[in-house]
């Protein structure tokens, strides 16, 4: 989870930097894959990396939670370990979803801005 938060922080930093250099819209268009101008590829890849990294860590946590659930149902794992694994998976997913929602809403705010 701390990986996701650190990646989110760096993404926010690059978003703030690119906002100052008038290339924020191309950054986020790159990120969503809608258009690619090739002007600023670094921030775009960092946002992509953020989502990818966050999602894959959330998926991994979810997978380990699932295997714990199976073990728990078979009576091989401790009930408390199963509960903790499922709670961790839920938390990892909500972290990724929250960060994505926040970045997407920031992008939409920028797009709504009258030029």
């Amino acid at each position: 989870m701390s990986i996701a938060i650190n990646a989110a922080l760096s993404a926010y930093r690059t978003a703030a930097q690119s906002g100052g250099s008038r290339s924020s819209s191309s950054t986020f268009l790159d990120a969503t894959g809608a258009a690619s101008t090739g002007l600023s590829s670094t921030p775009a890849s960092s946002f992509m990396d953020l989502v990818k990294q966050g999602l894959s860590s959330a998926v991994n946590t979810g997978k380990s939670a699932e295997s714990m659930e199976v073990k728990g149902l078979a009576g091989q794992a401790d009930m408390r370990d199963v509960v903790l694994a499922v709670a961790n998976a839920e938390q990892a997913l909500s972290t990724v979803v929250n960060v994505r929602d926040k970045v997407m809403s920031a992008y939409q705010e920028i797009m709504k801005m009258p030029i």
Partner: protein, 136 residues
């Protein structure tokens, strides 16, 4: 892993240890009347659990583990019960060294420690989700 997640991991080990303790208490209470079955034989001997701190290398925090149980070597009680198969020539039978009052107190302590650890998990999850709520 950040510290709040580690707190949950430690508290989980505490809950596991207290569950084992409650299991031992249950064994003691259930066998409080398990007398000797042969003359001169031993009745049920009270068990006790020993906790130990152990370093979890993955997270670098100290967890608690419940080691194997040890036997309480205090003396058995004697009861005059001439009819039972374990009675000696004078009609006395050895009874377990389990004191129900002590077991019940142990049980309450296990329950309260379990709840305290549960509260640690609930608080750490609450703190994490409150932090995430800042994004909304």
């Amino acid at each position: 892993m950040d510290d709040l997640s580690n707190a949950s991991v430690v508290a989980t080990s505490g809950m596991q240890a207290q569950s084992k303790r409650l299991r031992v208490v249950a064994e003691n209470l259930a066998n409080a009347q398990s007398v000797a079955i042969t003359p001169g034989g031993d009745p049920y001997r009270r068990k006790e659990i020993v906790f130990q701190d152990v370093l979890d290398r993955a997270t670098g925090v100290k967890k608690v583990v419940a080691n194997d149980t040890v036997e309480d070597m205090s003396d058995f009680a004697r009861e005059f019960r001439p009819g039972t198969p374990g009675a000696d020539a004078k009609g006395y039978v050895l009874t377990p060294n389990v004191v129900p009052l002590v077991e019940v107190q142990d049980m309450r302590e296990a329950q309260q420690t379990y709840q305290a650890n549960l509260q640690v998990i609930a608080t750490s999850h609450d703190m994490i989700s409150k932090t995430l709520d800042l994004l909304k």
